[in-house]
């Protein structure tokens, strides 16, 4: 954005009080500006080695999310009065080279507004929870900086009106998620889990990056207005079926990583290494549904791409079955909840694939709220259980029936074995893909070091070393 563009932005904000037309635009900008401001106001003092107090930090971040939430509610009210006709907000051109324009476009419609309301509301609640939960934790400020970064990225992604802006928000989500998984960095398991998550995100982000490039190349702009027209969820695809199919498949690939779909799901249970508040909001509520949101935003493209819809259904169904089985054999609560989230995410993918867009949105919101509550309560699960037993006057008994019981016993035993091995997903990925590649690279690295050692040694020194080694060999 140029300085004149920034001037236009300020003018836009100022003009909101004079013109009702700009109210939604101002609210949209406010939803972005609030968490971004908290990121700067909390992060900058920390970077200067003068962090704010715990109280100031939680109040600042909480206020930012509350403001964003209230702005979302106001936006909802304004839009519902207008029949949810989408409002486009053009903030200018970020940079432009030839025909390649990266524009800052935002959109408020029937998809983004409800989503941003509930996401900012959840963030505000989790902020309040975390303020107490992480009291006197050494990384207190770091957590809230990352939470603000997450909130900024989330709002950017949800309100994005172009693929470039969406990608920027998407990246922020990935980085904040990774750093929060590795929050307790003294633990080796946390580091490994964080790196695994980041690797999965990055590999799948190739899909989103490539989709963005395809869109720019074929349409000349990243604006969603040029891709699909109309009102969500009844938008129409404006590009050719070939482009729609290719872009849709790439978007499905990108969504799989964030939403923990098979075969990119093994990072999700390990992600529970992070603090409970972040686990709740990321892997129970918002981050895990980022992939689904991406697909909902581009549902018009999916309508024109039957292959992508078929892939969605297959992937979602496979993930749901896999997660339902594996979740049943978990021995710790957070892992079980992780697989439960994965199951629901898979079902949501199926809903999107078969065209139930509004159902998917409602499913996302309700699942997010329920799962966040469950994960936030999970540290107190034993306490809750004891209270329940006390109230009932005895052990309530375990649920003994499930659909698996309908299967023959030998099949149940096999499924149990498969579930214990997490569907052999990790085995396949680690032993057949990651392992061989890693070993090859290590051998290459050692060969490089050997070559440098050889080249960097004078011939007479090399001859002397060789003679010494031979002499030692003979003496043995």
């Amino acid at each position: 954005m140029t300085i004149p563009g920034a001037g236009r932005l300020v003018g836009l904000l100022a003009a909101t009080f004079a013109s009702a037309h700009n109210i939604v635009a101002a609210l949209v900008v406010l939803q972005l500006a609030a968490p971004a401001a908290s990121l700067v106001l909390v992060g900058l003092p920390a970077l200067l080695d003068r962090p704010l107090s715990e109280r100031a930090t939680t109040r600042l971040v909480g206020s930012a999310f509350t403001v964003a939430f209230l702005a979302g509610l106001a936006m909802f009210a304004v839009l519902s009065a207008r029949g949810f006709a989408p409002e486009q907000v053009h903030l200018g051109t970020w940079f432009s080279v030839g025909h390649h324009d990266a524009t800052i476009d935002l959109v408020a419609d029937g998809l983004s507004v409800p989503y941003v309301c509930f996401s900012t509301g959840l963030c505000a609640l989790v902020n309040a929870f975390a303020g107490k939960y992480l009291h006197r934790e050494p990384g207190f400020t770091r957590f809230f900086v990352l939470l603000s970064l997450f909130g900024t990225g989330m709002n950017l992604m949800v309100l994005a009106g172009s693929i470039d802006v969406l990608f920027a928000g998407w990246e922020f989500l990935g980085i904040s998620s990774t750093m929060l998984i590795g929050f307790f960095h003294e633990r080796t398991n946390a580091l490994k889990a964080a790196l695994r998550a980041f690797t999965t995100y990055r590999i799948c982000d190739v899909g989103l990056l490539a989709a963005g490039v395809m869109i720019h190349r074929d349409v000349g702009s990243g604006d969603f207005e040029r891709l699909f027209g109309g009102v969500w969820p009844h938008a129409e695809c404006l590009v050719s079926p070939g482009t729609a199919t290719l872009v849709s498949l790439l978007l499905v690939f990108a969504a799989m990583g964030k939403s923990g779909q098979v075969p990119f799901s093994n990072w999700l249970p390990r992600a529970m290494e992070g603090p409970t508040p972040s686990s709740a909001i990321f892997y129970g509520a918002l981050s895990i549904h980022a992939g689904a949101y991406l697909l909902l935003r581009c549902e018009a493209l999916l309508d024109a791409a039957w292959l992508a819809r078929l892939a969605l259904v297959a992937i979602g169904a496979g993930t749901a079955v896999h997660a339902a089985l594996v979740g049943r054999v978990q021995t710790d609560l957070k892992s079980m909840l992780a697989y439960a989230s994965m199951t629901q995410a898979g079902i949501i993918f199926v809903e999107i694939g078969i065209g139930l867009r509004v159902v998917a949105l409602v499913h996302i919101v309700s699942h997010a709220i329920l799962r966040s509550l469950q994960i936030l309560r999970s540290p107190s699960a034993l306490h809750d259980r004891h209270e329940l037993e006390a109230a009932l006057g005895g052990h309530p008994g375990a649920a003994s029936w499930s659909v698996v019981n309908l299967l023959p016993e030998h099949v149940q035993r096999r499924l149990y074995r498969v579930a214990l091995d997490r569907g052999f997903e990790e085995l396949v990925v680690s032993r057949l893909v990651v392992g061989p590649v890693w070993r090859s690279l290590e051998r290459l690295g050692q060969a490089e070091l050997g070559w440098i050692e050889w080249l960097g040694t004078r011939p007479q020194d090399r001859a002397r070393d060789l003679a010494e080694r031979r002499a030692q060999g003979r003496s043995r």
């Binding site: 970020w94 080279v97 030839g98 590795g182 490039v213 690279l441």
Partner: protein
Amino acid sequence: MNLDAHDIPLVAALAATILAPLAAALHVARGGSQVDPRRPAIISLLVALAASLTITRAWMSGPEVTLELGQRLGGGFLVHVDGVTAVLLPFVAIVELAIVMMAPKRFLDGPATSRILLGAATTFALFSTAHPLVLIMAWVVTALPTWWSTRATPGGQTAARVYAIMMTLAVACMAVGTVMMIVDPPWEPGVGALGTAGGWFVALAVLVRKGIVPFHSWYPALYRGAPMSTALAATVPQIASYTAVRLFFGHADHGDGVGAELVVLSQLALLTATYGAALALVQRDLRGLVGTLAMSQSALVLAGLAGKLPMELNGAFCTWISSGLALTGLGLVGWALESRAGPLSLETPQGRFADAPLLAAFFLLFGLASIGLPGTLSFVADDLLVSGSLDEQLHAGLLVIAATVLSAISVMRGWFMVFGGPANLDGPRHHVLPRERIALTALLATIVLLGLWPAPLVRELERAGSELLGVPLEPRDPAASPRYEKPAGGGTSIDEVGTITGDVLVGGEWLRGCAGAGLPGEMKDLDQPVDPQSPREQSCTSVGHPIAAATTAPSAPTSRASASFISASGSIPSPASRSASRSSSMPAG
């Protein structure tokens, strides 16, 4: 020398840029400021930075005319200042300044400071010339202090020897090739075998100097064996890339303006970028990680330089600057931590977060800035490079994407291994010194500022790229703009203003350089009335075509070098011929 009066400020600024660090180098070498050689070094580099920014400012706000002075030999002038120079000079100044400010005290004695300043002065001089013989001399002068410094470092003899072998090969090829090209210039019609062979010798020299496969091994070896300042100063400015730009662009026998040698180099560079990023994944020490990342990012620059589209070239230049600044920060943070805590292994988590949290934060931010974090310049660079590469060749785009993905994973692994892990509770807390904090914050702020507001830089690089390629800037098709709306009421008025260039759309035609509309980069109000017949407006230039050359109006700016995108006819072409010419002048693809 054909020196005009209005060139004098530019030449003075250039002289200040080069002479300030040179004077400081001599002062320190003669024993001046023995107690604190850092102070004159910082002052001289600040002067160089200010002078180079003056050049940049003069270039951006002036008629953007290439300055060419002195003897023209081998296709290049002794003094050559264009858009590329105007951007690279402050970039190098910032890098050298950061190095001097961050260098540990025990390293920065008189001789070391003098070597750094001499290297800086030589690099500034190299970026201001296109003269082949001066380029050769600069190659030698920049390589010698690097070799000396590496050899003098404990444990650096192996790296010094490898570096010496490679640089000797590079300089020899460069010298032989350049002489051949001078004798038989390949940029003139009817080039013979000698000129062609000379071009390939120079390409080989660039291959070796840039650390492209199979001559890449010296890169990580240098980072392991030499002081970090030496390794950064030797690699971050990328003098081989600059040499490639000066010697391989604008060949008359290649319609696309790019020599065939550069195309071959770019393919090898793509492989190197991916290979380097993959190797970075398995590095066992921080030095090796930074070295292989630097090798990969540097190769990406060369890969983009062979692009036929200004967008690719733009991406290459943006990567040049963004990766240079970010890797400088990354390397300097690593050096700061090493100087306090010793060598840093990546085989087991080192647990350094507890004793150096601020350095951890800076390392993470610089690391993210090198891998395309939105809001940093590398995000813009990656976007342009990937888009341009995929536009031209699918495999090129895929390799660029693979390189960026692997680099990102390596950086995060590096952070987790160095700063993650059980803390050493008995160890000292490593505070960041004020000069270190200033240097790192300023470096980071530069990366973020250019990332949030890339338009001026991108615009200037677009112009520079177009001039290098000898193609006109792609005119904007107003109908393609999603927000193009002709104002109601008709009449001749400004319908749209180009966001970056300040071009104005009047009556369906894009105009540039109008005296009434102001200089490029300045915006005018929409719907402002324009009278095309007025003398003021007659200095306007239709993009690619002049409209008029009225005697009362100031003449349109021209480049003293080969004409870029302004035709020489001076007559008013008919609308039909204008549109026909415009469509034919648009680059293919």
